[in-house]
Point group: C2
Chain length 136, copies 2
Amino acid sequence: MADTEQTRALAGRYFATMAARDWDAFAALVAEDVVYELPQTSERITGRDDYVRFNREYPGDWRLEVTRLLVDGDTAAASMNFTVGAEQLVGLVFLEVGDGLVRRVTDFWPEPYEPPTGREHLVERLPGTTDRFGAS
Amino acid sequence: MADTEQTRALAGRYFATMAARDWDAFAALVAEDVVYELPQTSERITGRDDYVRFNREYPGDWRLEVTRLLVDGDTAAASMNFTVGAEQLVGLVFLEVGDGLVRRVTDFWPEPYEPPTGREHLVERLPGTTDRFGAS
């Protein structure tokens, strides 16, 4: 199992190079056979070249801010506020690392929805302070 | 900061008692002023009594299986496959603990969606092995 603090440094560099669009530095952190999965769309990208290209080609003037980063051995979990133009999204990411590289990435993109009825007696409606959805 | 292994034991009991619908044992793990947030709906529940009631009253014959659990100091991140009748959902949860109790819970419920066009040259479409969406 990877050391938690090594994983923390790697995960920090992963998000920092992505946020900076420093794709050469980003590519150097990723295993040649990296697997990227989006379970909500059943999409999978395999291999460093295609994964870096996917990120490089991602459309729009996006910016990301990491809002949580938890590291546990050779795994990490993060959340981020992701802004594309006037739209604000939240991304949730799990990383698996090994041999000093990111080996697997799983991304989730939850979306706002209207709550079901029947629990109004228990809830308040307040915008979250950490996770930002919606038009900016 | 809480000890990571104490947090791991608490998080494990939290999900185990929830899965078992053992609400008395579950309530004993939760702070009296616990805050539960659903950022996608901007819903917030405050306090142990209402939070336990929310879980106890949650409709349907649901079952949960924890698929990832990462622990880092006084925080934990988990994913679960959540089945309600024939429907399969994925839940993503962040826990914050203190003084041996769960103090804050943030839940996300991402949903399946159709992928945007323009990246077909990079992706395969395959069902995920860890995260299960859809009708069972």
